[in-house]
Amino acid sequence: MPVFYGTDVESPLMLGTALYPSPAIMAEAFRASGAGIATVSLRREGGAGQDFHNLIKGLNVPVLPNTAGCHSVREAVTTAQMARELFDTPWIKLEVIRDDDTLCPDVIALVEAARILSDDGFQVFPYCTEDLSVCGRLLDAGCEVLMPWGAPIGSGRGLNNPYGLRSVRAHFPDVPLVVDAGIGLPSHAAQAMELGFDAVLLNTAVAKAGDPVAMARAMALAIQAGQLAHAANPIEARDMAAPSTPVFGMAVLG
């Protein structure tokens, strides 16, 4: 199971808390999936949303607050500070967005904010791209977890760049890695785990499914399958067939 900043997490599924038909269905999705972490947005759901925060706390899983919706270093830092007070945790999922249509991370501002927050004692989970230089800079800034995107948030496209994600894994073998965003189907989540990622963070794929509870369970099973498969050391793909039944001793006809 993943270990983030020395904390053992009970499941490699990290589930968001937005967009569900109701808090009751959200709670059921968490139960059905056994998700190890709940992410919660501060920017729009913060402030006086005490009732909703209590519902999140009632899920009884560790909370990872995020800075979704922040567009600048200063905004992200302030939001992180609010989150720390509200949820009493040094964890922060750091999101700094430049473009509202792709919700692509602003990696320059991200590195800067990660440095400020790490220096201030935060344990930063940066939502980043699969760019190796950016990942390296984030580690230099004090991050001990990396969360490259699979595809733009909410797009459900799966892993757009498996090669890039594989390189991140290969370059940083000891850093806990999470595929964050872009997951649409359980097969996408399984693929991330097969690549050797430590966890998968998703929200829309479950919350907006026709049956969020069933989809949450499907994601959890797929993640488990991918994790087992990675640990089982899968075979390499090859171009030619390799018979799985021995041919020796078969009758030679003709």
Binding site: P21, S22, P23, A24, I25, A27, R44, E45, G46, G47, A48, G49, Q50, D51, F52, L55, D100, G154, K208, G210
Partner: protein, 325 residues
Amino acid sequence: MTEVTILGAGVMGLSIATELASRGLTPRLIDPAGKPGAHACSWRAGGMLAPYCEAESAEPVVVRHGRNAADWWQAQGVEVTHRGTLVLAPSRDRAELDRFARMTEAHSPVDAETIATLEPELEGRFARGLFFGTESHLNPREALRVLRDRLAEKGIEIETDAAPTGLTVDARGLSARDELADLRGVRGEMLVLRCPEVTLTRTVRLLHPRIPLYIVPRGEGIYMIGATMLETGGKYRVTARSAVEMLSAAYALHPGFAEAEILELGSDARPAFPDNLPRLRRRGNTLYANGLYRHGYLLAPTVARMAADYITTGQRPEFMDEDHP
């Protein structure tokens, strides 16, 4: 005869009073704020009677009961506009339209030509959409006024400073949070625009992954635009971000909205239980009727009928949850 006092003269309280009065009772109605107005969150509702569209995110029970709402309002003398709902999406968000179609029923697909026939001003703007032909809408403020006037004709006036007698029906919406720990507020923000340049005759929903929007015509060039859904509880003013998002979505629907006058920016909190479904809850000599969430005008008739049946016959309503804490 059963003595009943209803607390709260929003859509819930007035509907229950109406149902009790139709069964021959004369309930008292207490609301410290007096007649329906900006203090009630039902004042800022859209007034869509759109059970099929709601199925996109609501439980089937909302559709089943919501189907009867239009008839009920009409029977009370409220003007209900039966012109259906047009659901549209910008071409790059077509996937949202497919999802909406899968999650709902009672719609037919419409192409550019049909959209132009239904709403001529939208000609050439959208290639595809969904038409929910059996849905309708009303003007919430007008509806509240009609209920209040009809009750007044029967001698039931809203008292502002009085103590309840008999069975208390608590229909105070989010104000009942002091007694209902599992009630929360889901914030909604809305705008009222005057835009005689644009003529839309029915509710139009514009799908968008981040900013879904609906526009309900109020007649005479006035449009209600809503509504955000934020889990922030309290009642604040509209944020700049929400206003900008709603206005740009309106502009995306029809550029004519750029010339609109903003008559009103409103914000309130919808009372909701964790499953976002309404509840009747009996505690001692109080019956709580609450949790209409975003379905005030759609479900108030059903909840009112259930409350009145329970009070007059003891019949256990579907939305009763005495077992809840």
